[in-house]
């Protein structure tokens, strides 16, 4: 186990470096000149050149990358072109808000997806399975932003039950789990959780059906075990698959949050990323993507370790 963990940790290093390089180069390959967004339209060629030098954009790509990585390693992600504030502090503020939404949506997606998947698998081809299937198929086929807009129209505009925008009152005082803040959290949570919940439920259903078809389940019955003990065996066998898909879905959720945060004006990393893109704020874009992708790498690492811990066939390999 320890050996596996160390090996897996070492794997994460080249993956992390590769990811930073891809993040860096993607931003540079993408069309659109950051400088032209920064300077007024009538700026002279000289002003443009000077700005490029100031931001280091005249250097070769690899040099720019090395410089940027070196700074990033020391926590310096540069200065936002748009706001003029350090990217690191902008991102740090946004990360907190995204984490709140991610935890909330992650819990809803995992718990609900887990329960629905188990129930559908245990009662395969019964009415309850068909109902779950209807829910999950809708879940995976409705786009995030469409669901987000629909929720706003129904629950904010028509019914006027829940607020449509923002994170709640007085964002400077910090987030607290009180009703004014929680009410703002509900709609973004639903919109973010829908797809991962559906995917988790579908995968888990397939996994439970698969486990139930295995011979050892007959042995468990032939031992006279109580149904709840048999269920525990089934869940333990489905768990590695469940954890893997949960990890992946939580990762994908970060992608989905860009759209959802934009629709709900939720001041998280997704929202930040979207504004960085629209303002062609290169350092901010890079910094945000870096943090997001590092989070993704970390998530995968955790999932792998937890999975190997729950599956003895990997653990002892």
């Amino acid at each position: 186990m320890l050996f596996y963990a160390v090996r897996r940790l070492l794997y994460a290093i080249p993956i992390g470096i590769g990811v930073t390089f891809i993040v860096f180069s993607l931003v540079h390959i993408a069309p659109g000149d950051p400088i032209s967004a920064l300077l007024p339209n009538e700026a002279t060629q000289e002003m443009v050149e000077q700005a490029r030098r100031e931001y280091g954009l005249d250097q070769p790509l690899l040099v720019q990358y090395a410089t940027w990585l070196g700074h990033a390693a020391r926590g310096d992600l540069g200065t936002s072109i748009g706001s003029g504030r350090p990217v690191a502090s902008e991102v740090a503020g946004a990360v907190g808000n995204t984490v709140i939404l991610a935890i909330s949506a992650g819990l809803v997606a995992c718990i609900l997806g887990f329960l629905l998947g188990i129930v559908a698998g245990l009662w395969r081809d019964r009415p309850v399975d068909h109902i779950v299937s209807l829910i999950t198929i809708s879940g995976v086929s409705i786009p995030h932003y469409w669901l987000a807009i629909l929720l706003v129209i129904v629950f904010s505009v028509d019914l006027n039950w829940l607020p449509p925008l923002g994170i709640g009152p007085d964002s400077s005082g910090g987030w607290r789990p009180d009703w004014p803040h929680l009410s703002h959290l509900i709609l973004p949570t639903i919109a973010t959780a829908a797809i991962p919940m559906a995917v988790i439920a579908r995968t888990l259903r397939a996994s439970v059906v698969d486990v139930l078809d295995q011979d050892f389940v007959t042995t468990l019955r032939a031992k006279g075990l109580l149904p709840r003990r048999v269920l525990w065996h089934v869940i333990r066998n489905a768990l590695p698959t469940a954890l893997a898909v949960m990890g992946l879905q939580l990762g994908n959720m970060l992608g989905g949050s860009v759209l959802v945060e934009t629709v709900f004006a939720w001041p998280g990393t997704g929202f930040l990323l979207a504004s960085a893109i629209f303002q062609r704020d290169l350092p901010l874009l890079q910094g945000t993507m870096l943090v997001l992708s590092m989070f993704f790498v970390l998530l995968n690492l955790i999932v792998d370790l937890v999975q190997s811990w729950t599956d003895p066939r990997i653990r002892r390999a």
Partner: protein, 338 residues
Amino acid sequence: MSDRMAAPILDIASLSVAYRGAAGWTPVVRGIDVRLEAGRTLVLLGESGSGKSVTLRSIVGLLRDEGARVEGEVRVGARNVTTMSDPELRQLRGGRVGFIFQEPMTALDPVFRIGDQIAETIVRHRGTTWKCAMGMAKELFELVQIPSAARRLSAYPNELSGGLRQRAMIAMAMSCEPELLLADEPTTALDATVQIQVLLLLREIQKERGTSMVFVTHDLGVAAEIADDVAVMYAGQIVEHGSADQVLLTPRHPYTQALTRCVVRGSYRDAALGELGGAPPDLGRLPAGCSFAPRCVRRADECLLAAPEPCEVAPSHIVACLRAADMAATPTGEFQES
């Protein structure tokens, strides 16, 4: 059967099992009667698909969960399994009746330690603490001669060899001191040498504890080794039933005769029933008369018309063949290629 026998530990009366197929119900077991006295070993012998495993599973009511249609009656001791409630069945399974499966790799849960899988059975039926159950599991491991028992208890199934896994399976089945042991081809998946060791171990434990056993196999050598009684199954019916000597040494049904003759010609232990000529009938489209008639060298015209009733050719030696009377002691024929 004669009534001088003691109360049977197992009594199966006109048991029929059918599964829903593409075209209606397919009969898989067709009206079988089995009686087993306490302390004895009955071997169910037959080709693949003859209904041996289904018969075995029906004894602990496992067919209920499979959507099978079951008719007839199964009694274990004084208890009627057919009319038991689910909780009663769960008491019976693992407690009074132990079950050993063919493939110990797939029959054990891969993500649970072996020791835990045995302990959970003990806790369930004997209501002991987990710790106490683990202690008993260790003793059981010593009983089935697994070396370094303590270490093996915390192993996962994939970390043990096939032979050790099957020993663990035997330990699990014996953990609550059942009065009846059901073994579905417990040695088929093992290497030849390991096969004999496990077989001898099983017989030793069973004799020592006085446990009754139903043992399914398609290997005549194994049957000869372990059987007190033998029942030969063909296409879901028992065609011959009697003591091991009666059935294996003086077989009266042409099917059994062909099987034993096959063994005489070939090597005893390796003779598998499937190597014989012809193929068993399609259970969905059975012939009108005797189901074995199409492959039978001793077939008479009337065999194609009516199915034979079982009749007692010698004390407790039962044969279902119209021509059973003519079959005695005549040299056995071979299968017709169909």
